[in-house]
Symmetry: C2
Subunit: 301 residues, 2 copies
């Protein structure tokens, strides 16, 4: 048994059990991969993969049982490399941030700028995806940390830290009836609604607010992206329900935003990362920076 065989199992897992794809990823020829797998299975004394003819179609029962150990080994191996690199120069490296559009545009700019000043040697990759995908990115180690509002708390393999709490707001053109007077769910429900897609940026809390009221929102447009919502609000398609911090007093002067805090439960944005994954010092500092920015935002309100 050796580490490249263990690595191979991981890569096969992520590439539909295809030996040729795995070979490509490992920068060696198929035949080498084929042989390594045979050697590994021979050493264990039993096949790890279910086969249909010559093709691999899935894990055997044995394979399923060892994949957890395989993942553990790969993670620990990467941790060793990260720890060493971090030890040699904790100012150099890469940081993969997985997050949703709203966070990336309305919350992250300030902490990222500050982080960048402290760590000019760290290359930052922003990965935008749905909350569900974000968690997958963490597990597949395509992302180091995830910043988002939904889903993340359910996963026991993740460390989840609170970041900040926010409220939804309704945005309408300046002359819209909702720009004045008390806002109620009833009033809201009487207009066509534009808001986030299911599973995005606190959408679940909008559902919770409506539940047991007998009312339904007429959501005529769902988007993952606040800017798309604002665009169609500007075109007069309806009223937007967006995250409060996504209203920009300067850029959105043609729109009116009104707080929905009593009507819709507050949402909590969190920072998440893999429990057994070593984070370089700079990543830990980035998390600190996020929490500082969150505190500043709270104070500003």
């Amino acid at each position: 048994m050796n580490l490249s065989q263990i690595e191979l199992l991981r890569i096969l897992q992520e590439n539909d059990f295809s030996l040729s794809k795995a070979a490509e990823k490992m920068h060696i020829v198929q035949s080498a991969v084929s042989r390594q797998l045979q050697l590994f299975e021979a050493e264990l004394g039993s096949p790890v993969y279910e086969r249909q003819g010559k093709r691999l179609i899935g894990l055997t029962s044995l394979g399923e049982r060892i994949m957890e150990q395989v993942a553990t080994i790969n993670l620990a191996k990467n941790n060793i490399q990260t720890i060493a690199a971090d030890y040699i120069d904790s100012n150099q490296g890469v940081l993969h941030i997985a997050t949703t559009h709203t966070q990336a545009k309305y919350f992250l700019p300030k902490p990222i700028l500050r982080f960048r000043e402290k760590y000019p040697g760290v290359r930052i990759y922003m990965i935008e995806a749905s909350p569900e995908q974000l968690i997958n990115k963490l597990h597949s180690r395509n992302a180091d940390i995830a910043i988002c509002t939904e889903k993340v708390s359910e996963d026991i393999d993740l460390v989840v830290k609170p970041c900040y709490e926010w409220h939804h707001a309704v945005v309408v053109p300046k002359d819209h009836p909702l720009s004045v007077g008390k806002i109620t769910l009833e009033r809201l429900a009487s207009y066509p609604i534009l808001t986030y897609s299911f599973g995005f940026t606190g959408r679940s809390n909008i559902e919770i607010a409506l539940k047991n009221t007998g009312m339904e929102l007429d959501v005529i447009l769902s988007a993952a992206d606040t800017d798309v919502i604002k665009t169609y609000v500007r075109l007069g398609m309806g009223v937007g329900i967006i995250a409060g911090m996504a209203y920009d007093p300067l850029m959105d002067q043609d729109l009116i935003a009104r707080d929905l805090s009593p009507l819709i439960p507050s949402s909590k944005t969190k920072i998440a990362y893999l429990k057994n994954n070593y984070l370089p010092l700079y990543t830990q500092h980035f998390i600190d920076e996020l929490q500082v920015a969150a505190t500043e935002m709270r104070v500003a309100q």
Copy 2:
């Protein structure tokens, strides 16, 4: 990086950082070990071991940080092998049971005999040691499971399962004054006492019973081993305080045992094993067998 280098780090850890001893354990020559370590350190880019001249004297700060990952990898690697072996033939293997003398002699015989009938292909190794050493044996993987009363609950890397609860008893020769009448701590304290060593078989509970009473037991002989205690009780050296189940009605007819359950808090014997360690099916069945035997004992009382 490869698995034998990771293995080497573990072996160095367990052999005073001696390259020559490590070479011996790995069945290769020193020079090979020396080179592998150099290659590993070169790959990481920084030394893992502190050196005094040429000799290794300890871990560097980097080394300390990676040893946890090293342990994780070694454990997971062994798990893969164990899982495979178990998958191929779950009736074959070895079982290292670490326990104290009292458990080995007075509790384990029945469950071990039964286990042996079901799994004639499993070789059993009994390792007798002090509770503190038992835990070390688990960590160093010299033992698969430990059965003992003391210490074990404090370690977060261990899974601890309850086994059975028992009481101390006082044993005296037939004609001894303590063989009749109500037994109190005061009466006990008036005789020279023979009992278990500190850290053994519920000794801590004897201490707890005495605490805050102002009394002290005159323990003239401590032993890890119930049989040693009985032997000196027979010679008239004093009264023995032993585990209740260590009195054998047949073999110990010349002695009188009297329950101390109200005077000394009950002791709990537990089964412990490493949290991240895969246990073969037969070991899981052995644990079941232990708990069955424990239940039977409770019923018999």
